[in-house]
Symmetry: C2
Subunit: 275 residues, 2 copies
């Protein structure tokens, strides 16, 4: 692992790191924020998965999460959203290929060799982070925005022993029924829609739910509301009687101005479940 | 004035606006954050002047100021750092020309027609902001980072009746004795160094000071420490017995990770003086 940068921030360290990924067969960059508490003891960790077009950098610089991670004593990990590089497949559309990994393992060409973001985020990167940083492996939570909210919810519900807490900001809630999902799941995973169900938060919620309360924030003025399909997730939560706080935030859109407005609530929510 | 974007943020509105500037003879873009309190009453305003290479966007997205502006009920204004455009003079160096206005009025060619950031920030934009937004003109404070800290300090000390409060993050504190200053003041204002003194925070501090306490934060690991010359400002403050809090922040560098770490302190400092 190579250190690309480290900056003091709220008494802790915001770092950016690069490593050679076996899952994605390319160099991958990620960011970790270690709060000041980590100098004296190991700390819980909150994963933040980002949305379409983002790298590790967007949330690191624009989500305002470090202030609250420092206050509540939680580490943050910001993975990239896809494999990267000139020899990695790509597409001209912003919502397929690089920057749009969708947190699945691809089985279709040209994506299959590199696009293994499920394995990367759930196996390879957690091992690296646990080896390199003073985090408590038993105390992990996961959140994310948009495509990253989709990733956070599907990963947490699929690996409930790993994650003690999950939340999401404006997640892609029902990708098997949305143009933000059908296109990508078809490209990466193939035409067999049965395989897609494991990557649909609303279907997973209906099928199994999560072992602790779930926090969802969704802006009412979200410019991608119809693609996100929050109603499908709300339906699944209420049908299942899943413990949850599902907040429709009046006037907020899909931007980081929305995310930062509620970041304190999310970090505090995770910190309390990760104690 | 044209609205380029408006996003709900911490219950208020983060907007980006464009107007035709008489001072700079070009279109200028700026950002304003109006806190939720502004829906019921006029609010004080805090100006944030940015550093070299920045536009209105950097601090708006990376300084984490909106959280505290909303908490303390203060509007924020983020001006651009220079005139812009294909027909505006420029230089290949990052520290001269577009993105490097230095908050002075140029009298030398090729800069003179457009590079009038002193007039823009102290006259034209304040009038526009007062006309278009529900701010209390009598309750204005000013802060900034690096070149913008230089701007904030020199403007506040030159117009003490206008500004009730001033602070700075890692300001260019003594430009008449630094390569961050001599080059630009010479280019914009000409070789007569006597004229430069009105744009040197340390000289102004020694000469006149400010009518209320001044807050300065400076990182000890600042990668531009030698160019900023904080010792000159500290000397002037202590020689003059100026009421001030000058904080050397251990381990912090020149980045927005530094700025955001202490933004709450600055917004609160201004809000209390602007009551």
């Amino acid at each position: 692992m190579e250190i690309l940068s480290e900056n003091t921030c709220f008494g802790g360290v915001q770092g950016v790191y690069k490593h050679s990924s076996d899952a994605c067969l390319c160099d991958m960059t990620f960011a970790v924020y270690m709060p000041p508490q980590a100098r004296a003891q190991k700390v819980p960790v909150l994963w933040f998965l980002s949305g379409l077009t983002c790298t590790h950098d967007n949330a690191m610089t624009k989500a305002g999460a470090q202030a609250w991670a420092a206050k509540y004593g939680v580490a943050l990990v910001f993975p990239d959203t896809s494999p990267r590089g000139d020899d990695v497949a790509n597409d001209e559309a912003y919502d397929l290929g690089q920057g749009a990994g969708f947190y699945v393992d691809a089985v279709q060409n040209p994506w299959a060799p590199h696009f293994n973001m499920w394995t990367y985020v759930t196996e390879e990167l957690p091992k690296l982070v646990a080896a390199e940083f003073d985090i408590i492996e038993e105390n992990q939570g996961i959140t994310g925005h948009s495509m990253g909210g989709h990733g956070a919810l599907t990963i947490a519900m699929s690996l409930p022993d790993r994650y003690k807490s999950v939340s999401a900001f404006a997640p892609i809630a029902n990708p098997t029924a949305s143009d933000w999902g059908r296109k990508q799941l078809g490209a990466y995973m193939g035409a067999d829609e049965a395989a897609w169900a494991a990557h649909d938060a609303s279907l997973l919620m209906a099928d199994r739910g999560f072992h602790s309360p779930v926090l969802i924030d969704q802006g009412t003025a979200d410019n991608f509301y119809d693609l996100l399909r929050p109603q499908a997730l709300a339906d699944a939560i209420t049908q299942r009687k899943q413990a949850a706080t599902f907040r429709m935030q009046s006037g907020y859109d899909h931007s980081y101005f929305f995310i930062q407005s509620f970041m304190q609530d999310h970090v505090k929510f995770h910190a309390e479940l990760l104690k």
